[in-house]
């Protein structure tokens, strides 16, 4: 007979383990029951902010990396000559304080801010600026194309930098504001490029601490930062928490102070959760339905217009964004300079859709496929809704889900009929998007659609070399109206950046381009 006491003793052992584990280490489950709306008075210095991010960063090399999670982190380390304004439509001086432009508009002379030091104590000079911009221009696989109008950079004196252009170039300041043109020490301080980016140095408010890949990346305050009194935080730690539910629970449990992109379905309940602030920052993100004009019948403008007219964008906003967004009317999002509010982007109108189909080359409909990456529930929802919306036109849509890498490859090789895609701006100027989206010779082949409207292409090129804002507005109006009438893509919706923070976080702000200035953030005492 098995002695019962032995069994009991063993169970006590399990209970003991439970107790040991529970009392184990210092509770990191600090209570977040700070009174909401506490003191939004003077900023408080100190504290560590934990930022629960959707995925890990990839690399700190600003000239080659396209991954947002990396970018939003190293933007706290390196700074640029000019930076994006809070409304995302312009630039303001940062490491440069002013500039003059020659009368032929091909030479810009920048005056650098005095008293700026790198986090290792060395003063920033024009030699560092020249090196950094030249490095970006040389990067063969990264952002060099934004500096393609630059013919050379000179450093005539320690606080003057001269940039020579090949031709007048309106987006220059906007291009200089991109993180890829961030200022790093001359010659990487004697290290190789790869070595340098393992522990990079910049003039920004935070400096390198460590990166445990897949787990956490930590930056600490730069005591030599030139903006007096900032940063307020002692450190910021970005943690890799891929699961939406877990990030949310971390926020509620006080383990993280910022939840990056909570699921749209949770936004409403977060808005009414005490001690949590739910932000929906205006963004430059636009979602589109792309038509491959190399595949029949999408070369027919009536087919494209019919499909675009049959899509109920309000239904999409409700189903996918849970109401947190609005239908798109233009190729450009409202947060971009030269956005035309009156752009006639097609909206839901079944009568007109049927009329367009009747005028088209396939009045009785056809069968086609929509390509989306698997595992993306938003895209699947959109595709399913579209499937039923296009049926009345006689268009049978098959949904093809491929693994994300394959789907992306096929899209970029134009092996698709229709596909869902999106864009967010990298610079506060429409040039980057315009050339990418409507110029068939731009390497992206008009956003991989092969769309070609010579008048629209011409307007795009002219807008690059005109520096008069009113003229640029007229040209970009032509681009937007043309793109809308040609319906080369169906513009679906604009969505904001959702961020949830605990209520003791102050000063947290995200520009429409996604930049965050963590030097403005402070934590009030619980």
């Amino acid at each position: 007979m098995i002695h019962r006491s032995t069994a009991v003793k063993a169970l006590i052992g399990v209970a003991a383990l439970l107790v040991v584990a529970a009392c184990g280490s210092s509770g990191s489950s600090s209570s977040s029951s700070s009174s909401s709306g506490g003191s939004s008075g003077a900023p408080v210095k100190g504290g560590n902010l934990t930022f629960a991010a959707v995925q890990d960063a990839q690399s700190m090399n600003a000239t080659t990396v396209f991954d947002n999670n990396s970018i939003w982190i190293f933007e706290q380390i390196y700074q640029t000559l000019y930076t994006v304004t809070n409304d995302g439509k312009g630039v303001k001086p940062l490491l440069a304080t002013s500039y003059t432009m020659s009368s032929d508009k091909k030479t810009y002379t920048f005056t650098l801010r005095k008293g700026v030091k790198f986090s290792n104590g060395q003063p920033m000079t024009s030699a560092d600026v020249k090196f950094s911009i030249d490095q970006n221009r040389k990067a063969t696989q990264g952002w060099a194309y934004l500096d393609s109008a630059i013919s050379s950079v000179d450093a005539p004196s320690p606080d003057t930098v001269v940039i020579h252009l090949k031709f007048p170039w309106a987006p220059l300041l906007a291009d200089l504001s991109i993180f890829a043109n961030g200022i790093v020490p001359n010659n990487y301080g004697g290290e190789t490029e790869n070595q340098f980016y393992q522990h990079p140095i910049g003039t920004g408010p935070f400096k390198w601490d460590y990166w445990h890949k897949g787990s956490a990346l930590k930056l600490v305050r730069n005591p030599l930062y030139w903006e007096k009194g900032k940063p307020y935080l002692d450190s910021v730690t970005w943690t890799d928490v891929p699961n939406d539910n877990t990030r949310l629970l971390q926020l509620k449990g006080g383990q993280a102070q910022v939840d990056q992109t909570p699921a749209w379905s949770t936004v409403a309940s977060l808005k009414s959760t005490p001690n949590v602030n739910m932000f929906l920052f205006p963004s430059t993100q636009t979602n589109y339905l792309a038509f491959n004009e190399n595949v029949k019948p999408f070369q027919d403008v009536h087919v494209r217009r019919a499909i675009s007219l049959a899509i109920n964008r309000n239904a999409l906003v409700k189903a996918v964004l849970f109401g947190n967004g609005k239908p798109a009317n233009s190729l450009f999002p409202p947060q971009v300079p030269y956005y035309q509010k009156a752009t006639p982007g097609l909206q839901f109108n079944m009568t007109q859709a049927k009329q367009e189909m009747a005028k088209s080359s396939v009045p009785h409909g056809f069968t086609t496929t929509i390509l989306i990456p698997s595992g993306n529930s938003d895209y699947l929802t959109i595709s399913t809704i579209m499937q039923s919306e296009l049926k009345p036109l006689g268009i049978k849509v098959k949904i093809q889900q491929l693994d994300p890498n394959t789907a992306n490859t096929n899209f970029q090789n134009q092996k698709y009929d229709m596909s869902l895609t999106l864009w967010t701006m990298d610079i506060p100027d429409p040039d980057e998007l315009a050339t990418f989206a409507v110029d068939p010779k731009s390497g992206a082949k008009s956003f991989f659609t092969s769309y070609n409207n010579p008048a629209v292409v011409k307007a795009t090129h002219q807008a690059e070399t005109t520096t008069v804002p009113a003229q640029r507005q007229t040209l970009y109006n032509t681009v937007q109206t043309g793109a809308a009438n040609d319906a080369f893509m169906a513009f679906l919706y604009y969505s904001p950046y959702p961020y949830a923070t605990t209520s003791n976080v102050h000063g947290f702000f995200v520009t429409p381009l996604g930049n965050m200035h963590m030097e403005d953030v402070w934590l009030s005492k619980p």
């Binding site: 007979m1 098995i2 002695h3 006491s5 032995t6 069994a7 009991v8 063993a10 169970l11 052992g13 399990v14 383990l17 439970l18 040991v20 584990a21 529970a22 184990g24 280490s25 509770g27 990191s28 489950s29 209570s31 995925q55 890990d56 990839q58 690399s59 990396v65 396209f66 991954d67 063969t140 696989q141 790869n194 445990h212 890949k213 897949g214 787990s215 943690t239 890799d240 928490v241 891929p242 699961n243 539910n245 877990t246 629970l249 971390q250 509620k252 449990g253 383990q255 693994d403 994300p404 890498n405 394959t406 992306n408 490859t409 096929n410 970029q412 895609t421 864009w423 390497g443 992206a444």
Partner: protein, 302 residues
């Protein structure tokens, strides 16, 4: 045994991952991919060479202890894998310990009164653990113990030995709850088997007290088949930690494997597979050794 198995596994995985469509260069470049940029990255990574020569390069590197560079992170794959391995090992070992601590007493309780109420309860209740999806169970446990009761951190790995013990308890428990039902049942069955044996009757009639009877005679004999069952299940576990690591934000190699496949980070996928293969073989070896230690008959047969 180890070498041919590891070799075979890497061969299969190498060709599988290279033959599925998709390109690590496109992962890195995203929407900014152009044919020129892709070609540059391919040349840098040696992906423009024939598959066979890439495989031979891979083998050559392994023999020198080098798994190649992570295409996504740009640092050696070995570094990343070694950084992430401890978290998964913690999860597996911790889960096994908890599973054993749960299973042994419960099996004893069940076997002590066959077909009694206790027996039925112990046989049925753990089945819920087997049926519940781990990600759901994990979130529930987090909600109950981390948010409401604030006993444990919501997720993550913690730091320091006691930090790990604290932070990994819930994830390990989630895994153990799924692991235990099978172990309980097999242990109970073998205990009942042993209890009916003649040497037990002999020992009882000699007056061996219940305590010693259990430890010396019953458990030692009953545990042998259970060790095999446990060993096999842990083998499955090694590949199955991905979900738990995702839910609990544990920086382990399960998540690393998943992300690397999506990113087509070939060297890391190959490296992690090699590690998995080695772990499973070592585990089976360990089970064999445990078997031999517990059962002298096996020892002397050799």
């Amino acid at each position: 045994m180890l070498i041919p198995v590891a070799f075979g596994v890497t061969l299969i995985v190498f060709f599988m991952i290279h033959l599925i469509p998709g390109d690590p260069a496109r992962t890195i470049l995203g929407i900014h991919a152009t044919p020129q940029r892709i070609a540059i990255l391919h040349r840098e990574w040696g992906l423009n060479r024939p598959l066979i020569s890439q495989y031979l390069l891979f083998l050559d590197r392994i023999l020198h202890g080098n798994l190649g560079p992570s295409l996504y992170y740009g640092v050696p794959a070995t570094t990343i894998i070694l950084q992430r391995l401890p978290a998964t090992l913690w999860l597996i070992v911790y889960a096994t310990v908890i599973a054993v601590l749960i299973s042994v007493p419960l099996a004893m309780i069940a076997a002590s009164r066959k077909d009694g109420v206790r027996d039925h309860v112990v046989r049925v209740v753990p089945l819920f653990g087997l049926g519940m999806p781990p990600f759901w169970l994990g979130i529930l446990l987090i909600y109950a113990f981390s948010i409401t009761l604030k006993l444990f951190p919501v997720s993550g790995y913690g730091s320091g030995f006691f930090g790990h013990l604290h932070a990994m308890f819930l994830p390990a428990l989630t895994v153990a709850i799924a692991l235990s039902p099978v172990v309980i049942r097999s242990l109970r069955a073998s205990m009942l088997n042993v209890l009916g044996a003649e040497y037990i009757t002999t020992a009882r009639s000699k007056g061996v007290p219940g305590h010693r009877l259990f430890l010396r005679h019953v458990l030692r004999n009953a545990v042998i088949p259970a060790v095999t069952v446990l060993g096999i299940n842990i083998g499955f576990l090694i590949g199955g930690t991905v979900i738990i690591e995702n839910v609990f934000a544990i920086p382990g190699i399960g998540q690393l494997m998943l992300n690397s496949i999506f990113e087509r980070d070939f060297p890391v996928v190959q490296g992690v597979t090699l590690v998995f293969a080695v772990m499973v073989v070592l585990l089976n070896l360990g089970a064999d050794i445990a078997y031999a230690t517990l059962d002298p008959r096996v020892r002397f047969e050799r």
